[in-house]
Structure formats: structure tokens, C-alpha cells
């Protein structure tokens, strides 16, 4: 009963314009009567009157706990959902004044638009309301049928502004168009520009440009057409291998993880073909065909036109990695460092990350980041069109573009996390609810602070941890279910993966999932709220004051920069292990449920240090979402036990939404389970056995 026709009501005014007031009024109209199964309980939710009544004359929230209780009972009235969500997510301190919030919102919007401008420099379609067609027709592949893709593509190209990077981008598009149009005789050369390969090539290109600009007078920004040309020329000759090592966090590269092997393969391949000539022949197809993996793609460029530019290239190569981060060719490490450097950079020099040609190091880093970001943007666009596509709201491509912009900005400010599938599911409701992209962005960002570790490059370890906790919860609270799942071999609990990653978006209708979210957040807010929340929020207040003086914040970021850099670099690449190691160290300094640490920029720097370890060790486990999954299992006990005889069937029953999920009931049950679980944990002090679970219990005990 969950999804089905419930989305229908979203056909609001053809969604031709993003009229959110209208949106939300429609949401209100439809959601109350039609969606709640038990009409008499409709009143048990946070209604506008109650909400308004909880503010004092200054606009401080006085009785948030009362509000929370109502939300836990039945959610938030859709008409006030956006504003309530901001509090639930911790965007504002409860005792912030209305005036402060107004200023803060303005500051955030300003910040967001400056971020958009930054992104625009890299891809001119960001922020314009049309999707960024990083690689032209690629998106068409996915959304073939509808939409005026060609038109938009054309637009993108015609939008060749003087923004340097744009022209560069367009160059790729041209190249690519050539490529698809023409025979593939020149494929090899251009191949790099196609799609994800273009990532590599873009990177190469970037590095080329970067190196150039570091060798050339500092005035040449990486994106001036001059250096672009040079970059292109040199492009092929850029050191595949070395640059490859420079770019490990790339999705493409990362895909293959086994860098050492890649390298071997490269050698092997190299020896197989034994001469560069092979690569230089016109038989590119053959060559590309032989490509065994990404490295080869890079390699291809290495080998290709290496004739003329060989020596300068190699010297540059040697310096470029060294410059960038002084790393050994150890992909992951250098990757993380790069990321950190970049994030640091953007925080300290928010306005001109691309122009800081003062030192070659900065140029380099920035270049890498740009190319990585461009590739990310491509992936974002490809995925955005596949997100909530059943909602009419997203039939308007401008709304898709909003989603894409926000994800792109996020990937830009948080390169360590970047973009990962599933994020768009989480973002989509904010885009629908908030008229202003900056507001949507901030809520999304706040949400991700709790969930960031689910989206780390190395795989969704956050969710995996939660699944482990879930297993333990079942063991402690429901032996029967535990035994059944053990018997059918479902210990991995992978069937719950999607629920936890995108917070029930796929299992529930749009409206139900929003309700589920707010109820979960309220319950987490309530249950796990430390007594000192108020203090935390006071801190926040101070901090956000800081945020208003951006220069100070930037300075601070710079001052803290080097420390953060090092620590973050350590914690980043080690993934699992180092996360937990650092968790102990840093968790004390964060405020879990406010999720609010220092000013935004420095916050981002600290992300890898604080928030992910905290959440993966201590926070992941006690979050209500995990208990919600347990509740869903238990509520559907009979069906589960009777109808699933294998893990496969378990997956099926979950994927096909064959389980009953009544949001209110689920939340109630989850809260009960959580109490029970922690009660039992505390009671049987056997926690020593498993430090993870021990950690998980500590916040509430």
C-alpha cells in the first residue's frame, strides 16, 4: 500500500514553475486526508498553530520538546514543513532569534550563490536552470524519450561565454560530437574525451594546463584559452602513469581499486605492444580495444603523441605530483590529501579557487579538483534524471537542474564525499519543499552530516555498520526474527541496505517518506538529545556569528588549515580502521544531534575528522532509522517468517515493497525497540565483547 498512486497528487500545475507556496499548499491539501490511514489521528501532528505558539516574541523556540512530541506522533503539517525541518535538522539553534535566523539565512544564500558562481566558472550551465551537459549527448542516452535535449545541448554549447573553463568544456563537447559523428579512425585521440574517459583526459588536460601555468608566468590561469591550447597540445603527452597516481579518488579510477595490479597490467600491456608505435598507429580501435582498464586510458594519452613534448613533459610530471602533495605514488593517500588540500583551499579562498596561481601547488590541486568535479557533475546529471522520475515535479527539467546544481555544489564543497548514488534520493524532497536552492542545499547538507559516512568513496561503510548494529538489535530484542534470518542465511541484512541508505525513500511514497523522516529526526532529536543541547546551540549561535564575518572565518580556516589537513589526510584514506581510531579522539568535540560544529567552512574541513567517525561508531547505531528497519521486520513478522525461505526471497520481499509499512506504527515500534535494546544492553553489561555496540549505546546511557 505504500507507494502506488500516492504520488499522483503531485501533479501540481504541471510543475511548470517552481511555485513552492503552491506546492506546499497542494501538499497539505492532499496529504492530510488521503494519506493518513486513520483520519482521527490526523490531528496528532504538529499543526501550524502549535508551531507558531512555540516561539517567543523574539522568535526563539521555547517549547520545542512539545513540538517534537507532536511530530513523533504524527509528523509535521506540510504547510510548515520547511521551517520545522530546518530546526529538526539543526540548521538553527532553538534559541536563535528570528532576526538572527533571517541574517543567517541571508548569509547562507549569499554563500550558496557564491558557490554557484564558482561552479559556474567550471561549467557554465550550473545555476542556469538547465542541466549541465558535461558530456553532451550522454544524458540523452538515459532520458531518450522526452525533453528537448538537443536544444539544451545546443544551448550549452552556444553559451560559450568568456568564462575560460566553459570554452574548454565546450571543446570537449565538440570533440565528442566529432567523435560520435565521425568514423572512429581518430577515436583514439579523441577517445579520451568521451564520457568518463574524458575524465581522465580532462584531468590530463588539466594537469597539462596546470603544469603549464606553473611553468609559465603566473598570470596564465589554467583556464585561459592560451593555456588551454597548450594543455590540449600537451594533453596527450602528459604522463599517464604519474598523473594517474595523482588522481586516485576519481570514480573511474577508484572503480578498480587494485592500483598495483592496474599498474602491472599496464606494464604487461605495454610490453605486449612493446612499442609506442603500436599506439601511434592509426589503428586506434585496436588499441582502445586492448585497453584493459582505466590506467590504460591514461596510458594511451601518455603514449600517444609523446614525440615532441617528451622531455618537458616528464620533468613536469615529476614535479607535478610532488608539487601537488609531495606524495609517493600511492593513490589513495595522495588522493585524500588532494581532497583535503582542495577543501582547505576553497574554504580559505572561497572566491577564487581557480585563479590562485600564486603557487604551482595550488594550481595543481585546484586543477585536479576541477576535473574531478566535472566528472562528478556528469555523473550527477546522469543520475538526477533518474531520481523520483515518477513525480511530475521533475518533469520540469528546471527542477532537475536545481537538484543537479545542489549536488554539484555539495560535491564541490565536500570533495572527500563528492557525489554518490543515493544522495539524489535524499536531496529530492528538499528541492520540492524549498523554493530557494540555498535553503534546500543547507538542509541537505545538514542531513548529510548525519549520513555522510554512508557515501564515502570506499563504499557505503556507514550503512554496513548500521546493518551490523541492526543484526545486534535483532539478536537482543527479537530472538525469533533473529533465528529466522540466521536460518535463511540473511545475516548480511543486505535487504535493508536501500532503506538505510536513502531513508525509506524507495519503500514509501513520497509523502510517507517525508513524514517518516521528520518523525525519525524528531525522535532522534528527542531521545538522544543531550541535556547540554541548549549549550551546544548557544555555541552554535556564537559560531554563526562568526559565520557572518566571513573574512574572520576564512582566516581561521587558514590558520587551522595545516592541522586539519594532516589529521584529515590521515583519517581519510584509511577508511574503516582509521575512522574508528579517530572516532574516539574527536567525537568529544562534536555535537551529534545538532550536528553543528564551527563555521561552515571550517566545518567542512573537519568533516573527515569529526563527523564521519562519530557517526560511524557512536551515532550510526542509535539512530532511529536502524530501529525502524527492525520495526518493519517485526511488524511484518508473520509474512517474513512464513514467506521467506531464503535470502533471495527476503531481498525480493523488501525490494518489491511487499511489506506493510505504516509510518506511525513503525516509528512507535522503533522507539520502543530502541528503549528495549538499550535497556537490555545496559542490563547485560556484556558489552565488553563488542566495542562497537558498546560505543553505540554510550550516548544514551
Amino acid at each position: 500500500m505504500s507507494s502506488g498512486g500516492v504520488e499522483k497528487p503531485w501533479r501540481c500545475g504541471k510543475a511548470s514553475s517552481v511555485n513552492l507556496q503552491r506546492m506546499s499548499s497542494i501538499v497539505r491539501d492532499i496529504s492530510d486526508p488521503c494519506l493518513s490511514q486513520s483520519p482521527r489521528k490526523v490531528s496528532r501532528m504538529l499543526k501550524p498553530e502549535k508551531w507558531r505558539a512555540s516561539f517567543d516574541s523574539d522568535g526563539k523556540v521555547l517549547a520545542f520538546h512539545k513540538a517534537l512530541r507532536l511530530i513523533i506522533l504524527g509528523g509535521v503539517d506540510p504547510s510548515i514543513r520547511p521551517e520545522v525541518w530546518e530546526f529538526l535538522l539543526g540548521c538553527y539553534a532553538l534559541d536563535s532569534t528570528a532576526e538572527f535566523r533571517r541574517q543567517l539565512r541571508k548569509a547562507r544564500r549569499d554563500r550558496y550563490s557564491s558557490l554557484i558562481r564558482q561552479c559556474q566558472m567550471m561549467n557554465s550551465s550550473v545555476g542556469t536552470g538547465s542541466l549541465a551537459y558535461v558530456v553532451g549527448s550522454k544524458v540523452l542516452d538515459i532520458r531518450t524519450s522526452s525533453k528537448d535535449d538537443h536544444g539544451r545541448e545546443g544551448k550549452t554549447e552556444s553559451r560559450q561565454t568568456s568564462i575560460d573553463s566553459t570554452s574548454r568544456l565546450d571543446n570537449f563537447q565538440h570533440l565528442e560530437n566529432d567523435c560520435t559523428d565521425m568514423s572512429q579512425s581518430r577515436a583514439c585521440q579523441r577517445e579520451g574525451f568521451i564520457d568518463s574517459d574524458d575524465l581522465v583526459s580532462v584531468r590530463d588536460n588539466d594537469v597539462g594546463a596546470a603544469c603549464d601555468s606553473s611553468t609559465l608566468p603566473a598570470s596564465s590561469t589554467p583556464y585561459t584559452s592560451g593555456s588551454q591550447e597548450v594543455g590540449r597540445e600537451v594533453n596527450g603527452s602528459k604522463s599517464g602513469i604519474q598523473t594517474y597516481f595523482d588522481f586516485p579518488p576519481l570514480p573511474v579510477t577508484n572503480l578498480f581499486e587494485k592500483n598495483e595490479e592496474d599498474r602491472e597490467e599496464y606494464n604487461e600491456a605495454d610490453s605486449k605492444f612493446s612499442t609506442h608505435d603500436t599506439f601511434q598507429t592509426g589503428d586506434d580501435r585496436m588499441h582502445s580495444f586492448r585497453i584493459t582498464n582505466n590506467t590504460d586510458i591514461v596510458m594511451e594519452q601518455t603514449d600517444f603523441p609523446s614525440n615532441g613534448v617528451l622531455s618537458p613533459t616528464s620533468s613536469e610530471i615529476e614535479m607535478s605530483p610532488a608539487n601537488a602533495c609531495g606524495t609517493v605514488p600511492q593513490p589513495q593517500k595522495s588522493a585524500s590529501k588532494t581532497q583535503i588540500v582542495s577543501s582547505l583551499k576553497i574554504s580559505s579562498i572561497p572566491e577564487s579557487p581557480l585563479r590562485s596561481a600564486t603557487s604551482s601547488r595550488e594550481v595543481n590541486v585546484s586543477e585536479e579538483r576541477v576535473s574531478e568535479w566535472l566528472w562528478t557533475l556528469h555523473r550527477i546529471v546522469v543520475d538526477v534524471v533518474r531520481t523520483d522520475s515518477h513525480l511530475e515535479f521533475y518533469e520540469d527539467s528546471r527542477n532537475l537542474a536545481r537538484m543537479s546544481d545542489i549536488l554539484a555544489v555539495y560535491a564541490w564543497v565536500d570533495p572527500a564525499t563528492g557525489y554518490c548514488q543515493g544522495m539524489s534520493d535524499l536531496l529530492s524532497p528538499f528541492v520540492v519543499l524549498f523554493e530557494d536552492n540555498a535553503d534546500a542545499f543547507w538542509c541537505f547538507e545538514m542531513l548529510l552530516r548525519r549520513m555522510r559516512e554512508n557515501f564515502q568513496m570506499e563504499g557505503p561503510t556507514g550503512v554496513m555498520n548500521q546493518l551490523q548494529v541492526l543484526w545486534h538489535i535483532l539478536e537482543v530484542t527479537d530472538r525469533e526474527m533473529f533465528a529466522h534470518l540466521s536460518r535463511i542465511g540473511a545475516e548480511s541484512l543486505h535487504f535493508a541496505f536501500r532503506m538505510l541508505l536513502v531513508l525509506f525513500r524507495r519503500e514509501l511514497s513520497f509523502n510517507d517518506s517525508l513524514r517518516m523522516w521528520e518523525m525519525m529526526w524528531a525522535a532522534d532529536f528527542d531521545e538522544s538529545l543531550q541535556d547540554n543541547l541548549e549549550e551546544n546551540c548557544l555555541d552554535l549561535l556564537v559560531i554563526h556569528d562568526l559565520g557572518e564575518f566571513e573574512a574572520d572565518a576564512a582566516l581561521e580556516a587558514i590558520n587551522n588549515g595545516s592541522d586539519n589537513l594532516e589529521i584529515a589526510a590521515q583519517s581519510k584514506h584509511g577508511k574503516g580502521e582509521s575512522i574508528s581510531e579517530n572516532g574516539g579522539v574527536k567525537s568529544a568535540s562534536t555535537r551529534p544531534f545538532c550536528g553543528l560544529t564551527k563555521g561552515f567552512w571550517s566545518r567542512n574541513d573537519r568533516v573527515p575528522i569529526c563527523s564521519s567517525p562519530v557517526s560511524s561508531t557512536t551515532k550510526g547505531g542509535d539512530r532511529l532509522s536502524v530501529f525502524c528497519v527492525a520495526a518493519i521486520l517485526i511488524i511484518n513478522r508473520h509474512k517474513v517468517i512464513r514467506e521467506t525461505h531464503s535470502f533471495d526471497e527476503m531481498i525480493k520481499i523488501f525490494n518489491d515493497n511487499m511489506l506493510k509499512i505504516n509510518v506511525r506504527r513503525c516509528i512507535r515500534m522503533a522507539i520502543k525497540l530502541r528503549k528495549k535494546y538499550f535497556y537490555k544492553l545496559v542490563k547485560s553489561k556484556s558489552a565488553a565483547r563488542d566495542s562497537d555496540y558498546c560505543d553505540a549505546s554510550s550516548p544514551t546511557s
Binding site: 532520458r143 560520435t180 577515436a187 568518463s196 573511474v252 546522469v382 531520481t387 545475516e491 524507495r506 535470502f647
Partner: protein
């Protein structure tokens, strides 16, 4: 519900190549131009007939994004067949095949039958990978190859069925031990000899694969 054999498949390949659409076309005979992103792993099933025997195909559809690989990898084991999909209009999806293959070889059982599918062959005008290249890659790596279109349904059935036929042949030839469920084959009760160990024991292997 009765089948002679149950074959487990896994569909792999880069994100956006049309894995879910192929599955949907095969199981539901319909095409959804915009298929929601696959998160984690999804699942589909359909009966087919090979050599007059009812065979159930149970297909795991995986997410293409690399960050989900930790999950998808656990589905390799226990798969009798893999459909390795690329998009003929996006060259990089072809270029990544080798890595997918490597992943499969590493995590799947050695006897897994792999079908290489060049999807979206209806978009010939945007073709970026020639049929010959696909063929050659398949030949070099010992894969079965087909170009298909989830949109037009061209070769979709064929791809799934041909894979099944190849698996079936391996069984006939005795190259696959059907009693060992980690090969992704279950012997059912519908139409063949009373199998050894055809018990309802699927969990054993799926559990094993998930850490």
C-alpha cells in the same frame, strides 16, 4: 513454480548502461525510459524453457556505481551466469569492461557463464563502440556476445536464454556440479530426475557470500 533448474544470474556493468531496463524488459516485457537508480541490489525472476525443461532464472540486478561494489561483490558467488552490460553509445562503459570482468573472475566461481551485452543498439546513430569491437572483446575473454536493446526488446530474450542454454550445456556436459549451490544452480522438482541435494537450502550459499 516447479522448475527443473534454477539458474542465478547477476547483471553487472557501469552505471546507466541499462541493466535494470534489460531486466525489466526480460521479466515484464516493458521498457521504462527512465528507470530509477538502482540502490544496492534488486531482483527479478522469470521462467524460460530450454530443451523442453522449465528453467527458472533468478536475476540479481546490481547498482553500477563503484561505491556499491562492496555489496554487489557478494552476489557474484552463487551466480551461474553474469550479464556484463555496456552501452554502445558510451565508450567508457566499454572500456571499463575489463575491470568488471576482473571483478567477476575474482569473486565469482570460475565456471560462471558470462554474456557480454552491448546495450542500446537502437541508438545506432550514436554508436561509439562498434559491434566488431564487442565481438572481439568477447572472443578474447571467452564471453558470449550480443548487442541488444532494452528499449526495443531486440535480443533481450535471446541474451538471457542463450546464457541459460550455455549453462544448461555445461550441466549436460558435466562441467557444472549442480549439487553445489555455490555454482548458482538449484535443481528443482519440476521435470527432472530426483536431484541430489535439491533441498531448499539456498541460504547456505547466499549466507556464505555475505560476509
Amino acid at each position: 513454480m516447479s522448475y527443473a533448474y534454477l539458474f542465478k544470474y547477476i547483471i553487472i556493468g557501469d552505471t546507466g548502461v541499462g541493466k535494470s531496463c534489460l531486466l525489466l524488459q526480460f521479466t515484464d516485457k516493458r521498457f521504462q525510459p527512465v528507470h530509477d537508480l538502482t540502490i544496492g541490489v534488486e531482483f527479478g525472476a522469470r521462467m524460460i524453457t530450454i530443451d523442453n525443461k522449465p528453467i527458472k532464472l533468478q536475476i540479481w540486478d546490481t547498482a553500477g556505481q563503484e561505491s556499491f561494489r562492496s555489496i554487489t561483490r557478494s552476489y557474484y558467488r552463487g551466480a551461474a551466469g553474469a550479464l556484463l552490460v555496456y552501452d554502445i553509445t558510451r565508450r567508457e562503459t566499454f572500456n571499463h569492461l575489463a575491470s568488471w570482468l576482473e571483478d567477476a573472475r575474482q569473486h565469482a566461481n570460475a565456471n560462471m557463464t558470462i554474456m557480454l551485452i552491448g546495450n542500446k543498439c537502437d541508438l545506432a546513430h550514436r554508436r561509439a563502440v562498434s559491434t566488431e569491437e564487442g565481438e572481439q572483446f568477447a572472443k578474447e575473454h571467452g564471453l558470449i556476445f550480443m548487442e541488444a536493446s532494452a528499449k526495443t526488446a531486440q535480443n533481450v530474450e535471446e541474451a538471457f536464454i542463450k546464457t541459460a542454454a550455455a549453462i544448461y550445456k555445461k550441466i549436460e556436459d558435466g562441467a557444472l556440479d549442480v549439487s553445489n549451490e555455490s555454482y548458482g544452480i538449484k535443481v528443482g522438482y519440476g521435470g527432472v530426475q530426483g536431484p541430489p541435494g535439491g533441498r531448499d537450502g539456498a541460504p547456505a550459499q547466499s549466507g556464505g557470500c555475505c560476509n
